[in-house]
């Protein structure tokens, strides 16, 4: 949002149209120009019928903002994120093997603004009032909506002893830690030991840690043939795609990967890169420590984390309305549903939420029978992939999204064609979300 748009937004606030209630001076001074002069194809409504504030510009939040403008009638949509650019977690493990650049994973919000008339605000949210639908940003800006949609992704549990997070990067939110882990792996001794930890379910992207392990193992085989990869899984078994991952771990990468299950990490020593576990101490030259996950603290403070032992937000999956505060909706990884926490299905949850909001604003009710799907590809080697798919139909009896058995499963094995399809899938998914 540039200064001129901002002033317009403030003027609109006086007339009661804009979500922007108050703007602190420091925010105004630091606001950057959007740098785009493309005419708006779907301009923000001058007399909105409803205002929606979306927190989080990842796969769920961005899709929600786009589709609410496409499908809603004169809905004013403001997307808030701390960063003016999104880095895709999907495909980010390929940065570790040097097959992808970080810039190839960067997606901006120009299309949302120019094609769909979404307002964007970049800043740190400090408080959410899920009943009044009000959001406070650092610096004092207050945004007021008729509905809030929260798509904040995940936060990590604190790991006792991890005083220097960069000593054991998670790289599970793509960003600086992804590049850092790539550098650490490249600098590892040729006969070194890498450790990758998998947290207890539910965590973001169920096949993700296993595909990363396969990818690193294949890369080590080529670059550091004497090196090993120890995978410490907090779960009792492969969380998903067991046929493919067990064959890959025990046969294909059996000489590189050592797989241990039911491993609980009690504490760590970042200086010596040692993990103290229920099965003894494990030291690595490189440690990719992926901690246990939960929705961010802001949602806990707002009283929204009422499921999964206080980790995630219970929602009505017809509209993703919070069961604690029905004017606030929670989509993607932060919500507690039967669906996996992953970008492809967060995109579909966002469409269900956008459709429900559009209908609700028009005086109707949400679609009573939504369908969602999860699809992804997993790298088994640096050039071969498998696929995994699940389709969910709404089940009225349990008021949940129920996986259809016949529509759920994985490829039998892996190959180069699936690896190629993975690239097409990524291009399409990111375009449906950001373009």
């Amino acid at each position: 949002m540039d200064r001129r748009q901002l002033l317009r937004a403030v003027a609109g606030a006086a007339a009661g149209f804009s979500p922007l209630l108050a703007l602190a001076d420091d925010d105004r001074k630091t606001r950057r120009k959007s740098g785009s002069s493309t005419p708006q194809a779907l301009p923000a409504p001058t007399s909105p019928k409803a205002r929606v504030i979306v927190l989080g510009g990842g796969m769920g939040g961005t899709t929600l903002a786009k589709y609410l403008r496409m499908w809603g009638d004169a809905v004013d949509v403001t997307l808030v994120d701390r960063n003016p650019s999104y880095t895709s977690c999907i495909m980010s493990s390929l940065v570790l093997t040097g097959q992808r650049s970080m810039s190839s994973l960067a997606f901006g919000y120009d299309n949302l603004r120019t094609r769909y008339g979404v307002r964007t605000v970049f800043g740190e949210v400090v408080a959410i009032d899920p009943v009044a639908c009000r959001v406070t940003l650092q610096g004092g800006t207050v945004l007021q909506g008729d509905r809030l949609v929260l798509a904040p992704g995940i936060a990590f549990d604190e790991v006792p002893g991890l005083t220097q997070p960069d000593a054991m990067p998670h790289a599970w939110k793509a960003g600086p830690q992804t590049s850092l882990l790539a550098r650490q792996l490249a600098a590892m001794p040729t006969n070194g030991v890498a450790v990758l930890t998998i947290p207890a379910v539910p965590y973001r992207c169920p096949p993700g840690p296993y595909e990363r392990a396969c990818l690193i193992a294949d890369w080590l085989r080529l670059r550091k043939p004497q090196a090993r990869l120890i995978v410490l899984d907090a779960n009792p078994d492969f969380v998903t795609e067991k046929d493919n991952f067990s064959r890959a771990f025990f046969d294909l990468h059996g000489r590189v990967i050592e797989y241990r299950t039911n491993v609980i990490i009690d504490s760590v020593d970042p200086t010596s890169r040692t993990l103290f576990t229920n099965g003894g101490a494990v030291r690595g030259d490189v440690v990719n420590l992926i901690p246990r996950q939960r929705a961010p603290q802001l949602l806990a403070d707002a009283g929204l984390l009422n499921a999964t032992g206080g980790r995630f937000a219970a929602v009505d999956v017809l509209s993703y309305a919070s069961t604690a505060a029905p004017s606030t909706h929670v989509i993607g990884d932060a919500s507690a549903t039967t669906q996996p926490k992953a970008g492809h299905i967060a995109n579909q949850e966002a469409k269900v939420c956008a459709d429900a909001l559009a209908r609700l604003f028009a005086g109707g009710s949400p679609d009573p029978a939504p369908v969602t799907n999860s699809a992804c590809y997993s790298t088994i080697t640096m050039s071969k992939a498998s696929w995994l798919h699940a389709l969910y139909q709404y089940d009225a009896a349990s008021a949940s999204m129920k996986p259809v058995a016949a529509g759920s499963g994985a490829s039998v094995g892996w190959n180069g064609n699936h690896f190629e399809d993975m690239g097409t899938w990524f291009t399409a998914l990111m375009a449906d979300t950001f373009a």
């Binding site: 995109n347 579909q348 259809v404 529509g407």
Partner: protein, 105 residues
């Protein structure tokens, strides 16, 4: 008995006004059929089936899309990801999806 009769042109106006009212009063009916269901395809075939991604679906005939989905569902195209996907839907849902993409240009 008093019978109120509008001139023909005025009756047409009244009918048009009633239709307009109906359109705003029944918003749920203005949501294109199959749109949310078909949006499950957009992640891989592009928003409204217009790419980028796998095969473009927008503008194909409903019967072409439906028959392709049936071929996938029945395994005639092999055990790929589209076979799994098609197996998740009811026959009525597959028809609804196909009909939606036929309306896209």
């Amino acid at each position: 008995m008093f019978v109120f009769r509008l001139p023909r042109s005025a009756r047409a106006c009244a009918a048009a006004a009633a239709c307009a009212l109906l359109a705003t009063a029944a918003p749920a009916q203005t949501v294109p059929a199959g749109r949310l269901l078909a949006s499950n395809c957009f992640q891989c075939h592009g928003t409204n089936g217009k790419g980028p991604g796998f095969d473009r679906l927008a503008g194909k005939s409903a019967s072409d899309i439906y028959h392709e989905l049936i071929e996938f569902r029945d395994g005639k195209q092999g055990p790929g990801i589209m076979a799994r996907h098609a197996l998740g839907y009811s026959d009525a849902q597959l028809r609804e999806i196909a009909a939606y993409f036929a309306t896209q240009r």
